[in-house]
């Protein structure tokens, strides 16, 4: 009786192991990130990206103005630049470039540079 059961148990375990490995292997970039990209989370990310770039732009403009005494012109210029950077961040997040604020994988001019997707 035990001889009958053993192979099927092992096969069972093997199948379970394979299923678990499949799940584990696929998890890092798919399951984990998919849940990060769900609804509220992605909306929150986009909000943060937008505001962060704007805040940096305003901070640079304000500090340069204080340093050069050119108030308020540089503040206005860098406010607009910061807003543009924020929009660019949002576009990059929304396009899903690896979820980074950073650089696009292959730009139109750098198509020859092959990188892992």
């Amino acid at each position: 009786m035990t001889d009958d059961r053993r192979p099927s148990d092992l096969e069972d375990l093997d199948a379970k192991l394979r299923a678990a490995q499949g799940r584990h292997g696929g998890e890092p970039d798919r399951a984990g990130f998919a849940s990060d990209k769900s609804g509220l989370s992605i909306a929150f990310r986009i909000g943060v990206e937008l505001v962060a770039a704007l805040a940096i732009g305003v901070a640079i403009g304000w500090l340069l103005d204080r340093w050069l005494g050119s108030s308020p012109w540089l503040l206005i210029v860098f406010f607009v630049l910061g807003a543009a950077a924020g929009i660019m961040n949002v576009i990059r997040v929304a396009k899903g470039y690896g979820g980074s604020v950073g650089y696009r994988k292959t730009g139109p001019g750098a198509a020859g540079e092959d990188r892992k997707d």
Binding site: A52, A55, I56, A84, M88, N89, G107
Partner: protein
């Protein structure tokens, strides 16, 4: 709900051992205590888990190995084989943030990741490290990072400042994301917890919600540590490969 038990009370900093060096307050506070606890638990978990390197791992050992393989897989997927040398840094970062988030969920716990200065310091270290890495590996060529490919030279004066601002905003968005998630989540738990006590017998309804939310908080605690780690990987990847 007793007076003085505000939902935000959990985020207050208390001095435990007042220390002052040259007029600078470097007291050992509860935030520092929980960082030390995080380090101790993280180290104990790995050292104790891997003490007996059994072929068939026990529970602690398999957990330690799973954590290792999770981060190793993350690095392999985002940076590739070149990223292996950054494994210790990313692994430490991940475990530190994960345990910090988790410890804050314990009763009387303190979440040091719910303070913007802590998360900002972490993000700033990543930012400076990645920038230095890019400069060391590519020299002055690193600055071509700020020039979008395939853009006419006439547009450069406009686009380069935008790219630089976008680059500088990285540590802010990285730190704000972790900090805000932790702050909002833990405050929400405390607010709902207040309802449980205030409603008496009907408090069973918010209690049920609280159980569900605690589960959600555990997921968020993990997810935020994971997002921090994966973004660090992507930044390192950017610095190594440029574009």
């Amino acid at each position: 709900m007793a007076a003085g038990h505000s939902p935000l009370e959990q985020f207050e900093i208390h001095r435990l051992i007042p220390i002052e060096v040259g007029g600078v307050d470097i007291s050992f506070n509860n935030s520092a205590l929980f960082m030390v606890a995080t380090l101790a638990i993280g180290s104990a978990f790995l050292v104790f888990g891997m003490r007996r390197q059994a072929v068939v791992p026990g529970r602690v050992q398999s957990l330690a190995e799973m954590t290792y393989e999770f981060i190793a897989g993350l690095i392999r997927d985002t940076i590739g084989s070149e990223g292996r040398r950054y494994f210790p840094f990313i692994f430490t970062l991940f475990v530190f943030i994960l345990l910090g988030n988790m410890l804050g969920l314990l009763p009387y716990g303190f979440t040091f990741t719910s303070h913007i200065i802590v998360t900002f310091a972490l993000a700033f270290v990543v930012f400076i490290g990645v920038t230095i890495l890019g400069l060391v590996r590519h020299g002055l060529h690193f600055f071509s990072f700020f020039v979008p490919p395939g853009v006419p030279i006439a547009m450069w004066p406009l686009l380069i400042p935008i790219e630089i601002i976008s680059y500088l905003s990285r540590p802010i968005s990285l730190s704000v994301r972790l900090f805000a998630n932790m702050l909002a989540g833990h405050t929400l738990l405390k607010v709902i917890g207040g309802f449980v006590a205030a409603l008496g017998i009907f408090g069973i309804a918010p209690l049920a919600l609280l159980v569900a939310l605690t589960g959600l908080e555990l997921v968020i605690a993990f997810l935020q540590a994971y997002v921090f780690a994966i973004l660090t990987c992507l930044y390192i990847n950017d610095a190594i490969h440029l574009h």
